[in-house]
């Protein structure tokens, strides 16, 4: 019912719509609109051929069942091979896939009800950072997350998912509300960084993020953080202090984007692939280095290929973790949260 009061945003383009009535349209649009990344070109060619075969089969009433079946089998193999051996840079590309679900897609896909809340009560409402209370069954949760846009107009409105200080302050305001009403917090991270602008500096971008870091450690309710796309630096960390930090399989999380890293260390934008390798920024790397708590598997080809399935997996992950976190006493949970982050880091200590 709340969704009626807060009309779905048009960015939720039709390829992501999931009601039965428009399934056909959605399929049709998907066919036309699916965007492929450079390394997906062979798959795209394959799929185009397959579509052509199917069309011929139906138009000319010829039986191509066997051929199509064989072709589909080969396509499956090709996909397995491509997506099973992704380089770090390819994962970065997937994390930015234009069809990838964004924060509001997840929230609406996961919750039966969601009421979005706005504003930091000081400056304005930052559209790059969204938040509100959502309900799964009888469980109310507070969601906050960076939000990207689907088309040019919305990308601009969402500032490409780059929050200003008021965004971080809005997030903290809502998290304090969650603490007040004893509701767990889920943060969804998807940002190329905190916005570097004149006003952002004037309003204390650094202070806003720093403040969130310190305050999130002391929040009495469980916090689950999920990196759903890009996790760039302080802009990501500003809402990523939690009892559990999880990454979707095809996302990245690091201190700097590969492009910026390349431009600083190699003094050129051309070394982004090497930079991605050097930064060890994938979910697998981060888990191996004990910098995150877990990885959430994505469907073959990425979250966007089966968004509905992805929402279910994420929902299950949230509820599973919540069950474990609920068992802990407040003080214990906070102590564990602090302790976990304090153990991070590798150094030598000898004479």
């Amino acid at each position: 019912m709340s969704q009626k009061r807060h009309p779905r945003e048009s960015y939720q383009n039709i390829a992501h719509a999931h009601t039965n009535s428009i399934k056909f349209v959605a399929f049709y649009q998907l066919e036309c609109m699916t965007s492929y990344l450079d390394f997906e070109k062979p798959i795209a060619d394959f799929e185009a051929k397959l579509a052509e075969m199917k069309q011929i089969a139906s138009e000319k009433k010829v039986d191509l069942k066997d051929a199509i079946g064989k072709f589909e089998e080969q396509l499956k193999e090709l996909k397995k091979e491509t997506y099973g051996n992704l380089t770090r840079w390819q994962r970065v590309q997937l994390s930015r896939h234009p069809d990838r679900p964004y924060s509001l897609d997840y929230i609406k896909g996961i919750c039966e009800e969601f009421i979005e809340l706005h504003g930091d009560r000081t400056v304005r409402d930052d559209k790059a950072m969204i938040g509100g209370f959502g309900r799964i069954g009888t469980q109310t949760l507070l969601f906050v997350g960076q939000q990207k846009g689907r088309n040019t107009k919305q990308r601009q409105m969402r500032n490409f998912g780059m929050a200003n200080p008021e965004g971080y302050r809005k997030a903290l305001r809502l998290m304090k509300l969650a603490e007040k009403f004893n509701k767990p917090i889920v943060t969804l991270i998807d940002t190329p960084g905190a916005f570097p602008g004149i006003e952002a500096e004037q309003r204390g971008q650094g202070e806003a993020i720093a403040h969130n870091l310190r305050e999130m450690f002391m929040l009495k309710v469980p916090i689950i953080c999920i990196i759903i796309g890009e996790g760039a630096s302080g802009g990501a960390l500003g809402i990523a202090i939690g009892d559990r930090v999880l990454m979707l399989e095809n996302t990245w999380y690091s201190v700097i984007s590969p492009e910026s890293c390349s431009s600083i260390l190699w003094r050129s934008w051309e070394y982004k692939e090497q930079a991605a390798e050097a930064l060890c920024l994938t979910a697998e790397d981060m888990k191996k280095n004990k910098l995150i708590d877990g990885i959430i598997k994505e469907p073959l080809g990425g979250a966007h290929t089966q968004a509905e399935k992805m929402y279910d997996v994420v929902k299950k992950a949230i509820l599973d973790q919540l069950k474990k976190l609920d068992k802990l006493e407040v003080e214990e949970r906070i102590a564990q949260r602090i302790d976990k982050f304090c153990k991070m880091g590798v150094y030598n200590e000898k004479d």
Partner: protein, 287 residues
């Protein structure tokens, strides 16, 4: 006809008798370009005699300025950088660290110590910009975390002197998490009611600004220091226009409400002492 006549041709002084100006005798201010004796500069707390420009100094100088008689106990001197990611750009990370260590004689980009300032105990962590731009990796994060622990255990104030370009890229995710680690410790310090003063010096940017440097009970700065989250070049490139004059200076940050005050280096020790003494509980017994 000339007044003087040179009787011997060429320079006759042998090379070993040659008298050179001792190195570092003179200092040219990096701001107003005027020249002064280095000794005078030192006596003036490394600030220009003419324009008050604060030269960049390192932990050794700050410790000498702040700790009584330059007496202090340094902590965790054995911590050095590992190379968890085997990071390599145009150089390997261990090679970069080694060069920095040789050049500076330091182990990493922060030194931590405790001692007395005007008779009162405190812990000071001070960053060294000359060591890979004062960047924060695991060693910096860990040393600051342990320094905060020390302040917690001894129940004495903590002073952080920041001078850093931000997180150290070569430790990627590990560096990022040092922001979280130091903030976690500061949350504990905050809860324990122990004063934390953050002194921001030129420059303080990036992940350092976005974590411990901005979390002081008192955020103070040296005059003219560059303080910001994003660097000026990045902002200029992002918004595609020139930045206003004085943007991201300490004065700008003070005006925008993120600093408590700006303090001249020669007044630093006494100002800090006054501030901390005002916070003390007058009824508490002196131990």
């Amino acid at each position: 006809m000339s007044w003087f006549k040179r009787t011997e041709k060429n320079i006759q002084t042998p090379t070993d008798k040659k008298r050179e100006t001792p190195e570092h005798l003179w200092h040219k201010c990096s701001s107003c370009k005027r020249v002064m004796l280095t000794r005078e500069l030192q006596n003036n707390y490394y600030t220009c005699l003419y324009c008050n420009h604060h030269e960049r100094i390192n932990s050794a100088e700050y410790f000498a300025i702040l700790f009584d008689k330059n007496q202090f106990t340094e902590m965790d001197t054995k911590l050095t950088s590992a190379d968890p990611l085997h990071f390599e750009d145009t150089k390997t990370y261990p090679a970069r660290v080694k060069v920095a260590q040789q050049k500076t004689g330091l182990k990493d980009a922060v030194r931590t110590a405790y001692g007395k300032m005007n008779g009162e105990e405190l812990v000071i962590a001070c960053m060294d910009f000359q060591f890979i731009g004062g960047s924060m990796g695991s060693v910096v994060g860990e040393k600051i975390a342990r320094a905060i622990d020390k302040a917690l255990n001894l129940k004495i104030p903590f002073l952080m002197i920041s001078r850093s370009g931000g997180a150290r890229m070569m430790e990627a995710g590990f560096s990022l998490m040092q922001m979280a680690k130091t903030s976690a410790k500061l949350a504990l310090l905050d809860k324990a009611g122990i004063p934390y003063i953050s002194l921001l010096t030129d420059p303080t940017t990036g992940g350092v600004t976005a974590s411990f440097a901005m979390l002081g009970d008192f955020n103070i700065a040296e005059p003219g220091a560059l303080i910001g989250f994003a660097g000026p070049r990045v902002i200029r490139e992002t918004i595609g226009r020139d930045l206003p004059e004085g943007f991201q200076t300490a004065e700008f940050v003070l005006e925008n409400g993120f600093l408590d005050f700006i303090v001249h280096r020669k007044d630093l020790k006494d100002e800090l002492t006054s501030l901390l003494s005002m916070l003390k509980d007058p009824t508490a017994e002196k131990s």
